[in-house]
Symmetry: none
Subunit: 233 residues, 2 copies
């Protein structure tokens, strides 16, 4: 995945700083820089019980220095307040954008602004483009820790597995299914259910259902054993 | 997009409840249910200054009732602690999974467990599958509010409302499944099958199987009618 630096600019709440650090760690980011944080918050966040190494290793810097060694800088923006002077990347399009714009091995920085007003115009001058987390018009403003979490998730997303893991799924064989069909035919006959339906139609309905249900081998054994017991009485 | 119900199970921290509600609002979700929250936290979260309508409209319920009208139930899981009995969906694969499994217009519930231990085994029996947010092995545990944010973002991400699936597939609701469970309990009792198994274990086994089988509404009606007939003799 892309290694990205998270730069928190003028953040005030120590809980948000801690939350940002935790989300970064969850998704494999480790490089945190703070620009002009509210002093007591910064000290509180770093000394908090359980603060990760990530937070202890975080650096204080100025914005120009924080991005001095980066090849691509994105400033998060609600994109609602001002005329945009830069490309606006919706977060779900980030991977595609990075493929095009971030050189292999290049360093990326993502900037997050203060809880109240976000990044200022003067901050955006250091950004190649703006990154926008698409939210509802009525409730556009995200909690900072959650915004960092969602951005870190998207950064990691392209490299995260997508395949559904289905543990222990062993499909029954055709013969086992046929055993269920005939056992069910007998059970239906015994209780007089579906009695006016031709045998062939009944069998087809049962077979289609058993195949559609994605029974495991164990399921098929269980239903088969039950039918055998029920039909023997 | 897919409308999803968020179900918080045994959550203790009012800040987390508020954060979950905020993230839901950011990404257009509005249906929040709490199961056995820590009482004072629940009251504090709902009466907090600035609490959204969403939180004020949130309901208290039991888990079976919370999912009774849902067609697909996913339980979030770190997937690390126990042998899995259900398919495990990595969050980036959610859209694909929903295309296949959630009928158009169907109701989805996503369950989140307590801050300390997550969902319990007894909760998972109501789930068709598990949803896993892939995190780093060294720092797997996510903050609850951030987990809800990332899941809500992923739900909104693909504009899932467009996803059309097999139009003939109408999934049964939770209440219909519960009817099959109780009918099957009776049928098993009548033929003396699984007789040495405690009721709760038998019910759980049946529930897990019915959810795994991807029954249609028609399948469920059929099996239900058959059980009724068989049990009335």
């Amino acid at each position: 995945m892309t290694q990205a630096r998270v730069v928190l600019v003028r953040v005030r709440n120590p809980l948000n700083i801690g939350a940002a650090a935790r989300a970064m760690a969850n998704f494999g980011l480790s490089d945190l820089v703070a620009v002009e944080p509210y002093g007591p918050s910064w000290r509180a966040a770093r000394s908090a019980v359980g603060a990760q190494d990530l937070l202890r290793n975080a650096r204080l810097s100025t914005l120009p220095k924080a991005v001095a060694d980066c090849h691509l800088v994105l400033g998060t923006s609600s994109a609602s307040r001002r005329e945009l002077q830069q490309p606006l990347i919706p977060l779900p399009g980030l991977t595609e954008f990075l493929k095009e714009r971030l050189p292999s091995g290049g360093r990326l920085a993502v900037l997050f602004g203060s809880e109240k007003i976000g990044l200022r115009n003067e901050d955006f001058q250091y950004c190649h483009a703006l990154l926008n987390i698409p939210t509802q018009e009525r409730t556009p403003s995200m909690n900072l820790g959650q915004a960092v979490a969602v951005a870190a998730y998207e950064l990691a997303r392209a490299g995260l597995g997508k395949a559904v893991r289905d543990p222990g799924y062993a499909a029954p064989e055709g013969a086992q299914i046929e055993g269920l069909v005939s056992g069910s035919m007998e059970a239906l006959r015994r209780v007089g259910y579906w009695r006016h339906m031709p045998d062939s139609v009944r069998a087809e309905k049962l077979r289609r259902a058993f195949l559609r249900w994605k029974l495991t081998k164990g399921d098929a054994s269980l239903v088969g054993a039950y039918l055998k017991r029920a039909n023997s009485r």
